[in-house]
């Protein structure tokens, strides 16, 4: 094994003259050895990051479980991830139906937004949208037109929250740049939402 990147057995192996960044890079590069992980004490409970999730126990019959696993395999995600996605999607639908969610686009909203957007040139917006990548266009559409939450956009596109956020951010940026050329750059996200929800 390469001596320079050998996993460390003890914190004593970290050179003491490093800056915070250098020490971090040193640790990332070397990693820690199996014996370090097995033989040193775990941090006490109150020094561990607290999970924001809670494990629960649910019983499933074999048949349902095997269907879920097959589907998860074909989508290349873990079956528990898929399960969570399904619950979140369904919850969103049900809450929308019950009127719990205010983020959903109601008919009333649409009419007001229609008026707001009449000052915009729909053609240059369509043109600007069409010039974006398919993925960015989709993210913008789901978020602004369909009024989905970021979390739901990420589920629909099969991305992590972070990736969906980055996609949306760069989509907004590119859309603004495109529209700037036609002299109709939207000021903020609210005006993008107003136009896209009515397009």
């Amino acid at each position: 094994m390469n001596q320079q990147t050998k996993p460390i057995d003890s914190p004593k192996e970290i050179p003491s003259n490093l800056s915070d960044e250098e020490r971090r890079d040193f640790l990332m590069e070397h990693g820690v050895s199996e014996s370090f992980l097995e033989n040193t004490d775990e941090a006490p409970e109150d020094e561990r990051p607290r999970p924001r999730t809670k494990p629960i126990n649910v019983r499933f019959d074999d048949f349902t479980l095997s269907r879920l696993k097959t589907l998860a395999d074909s989508r290349n995600v873990g079956y528990q991830t898929l399960l969570k996605m399904f619950v979140q999607e369904r919850l969103y639908e049900e809450e929308k139906r019950e009127g719990v969610l205010s983020a959903g686009v109601t008919q009333e909203d649409r009419t007001t937004r229609q008026t707001a957007s009449s000052q915009y040139d729909a053609d240059s917006w369509r043109h600007a949208l069409a010039s974006l990548d398919l993925e960015k266009r989709e993210a913008l559409w789901l978020y602004f037109h369909e009024g989905l939450l970021l979390e739901d956009v990420s589920i629909r596109l099969g991305l992590s929250l972070g990736a969906a956020h980055r996609l949306l951010k760069s989509g907004i940026q590119e859309l603004k740049e495109e529209l700037r050329e036609s002299g109709a750059e939207p000021e903020d996200e609210a005006s993008i939402r107003a136009v896209l929800s009515a397009l």
Partner: protein, 96 residues
């Protein structure tokens, strides 16, 4: 309801994602994995305790991370990458 910890990042998170292909949600999942190994490794210059983590994401990716616990229970994750062979093996033994 248990209060949850906050996470913040040393590096710009986009840079981190580009360098190691880990996004912050994956890193937070791995850090809060109940089976994760969390080991005190030292302290930063200011005296905040520093830890290494080996934990699993919801999708089964085992990550290695370095982070610091600051005041008010804010975790500053320095960096994250896929765990190496020995780190993975220790994690698997531990969580068996």
């Amino acid at each position: 309801m248990q209060q949850r910890d906050e996470f913040e990042w040393d590096d710009n998170e986009d840079k981190l994602a580009a360098r190691h292909g880990v996004d912050r949600y994956e890193a937070e999942e791995a850090a809060t994995d109940p089976r994760a190994s969390v080991k005190r490794i030292g302290a930063d210059r200011v005296g905040n305790p520093e830890y290494v983590f080996v934990g699993k994401t919801d999708d089964g990716r085992i990550l290695f991370m370095v982070g610091v616990l600051k005041r008010d229970r804010i975790w500053r994750i320095g960096s994250a990458r896929d765990a190496k062979f020995q780190e993975k093996r220790a994690y698997r033994k531990r969580s068996r």
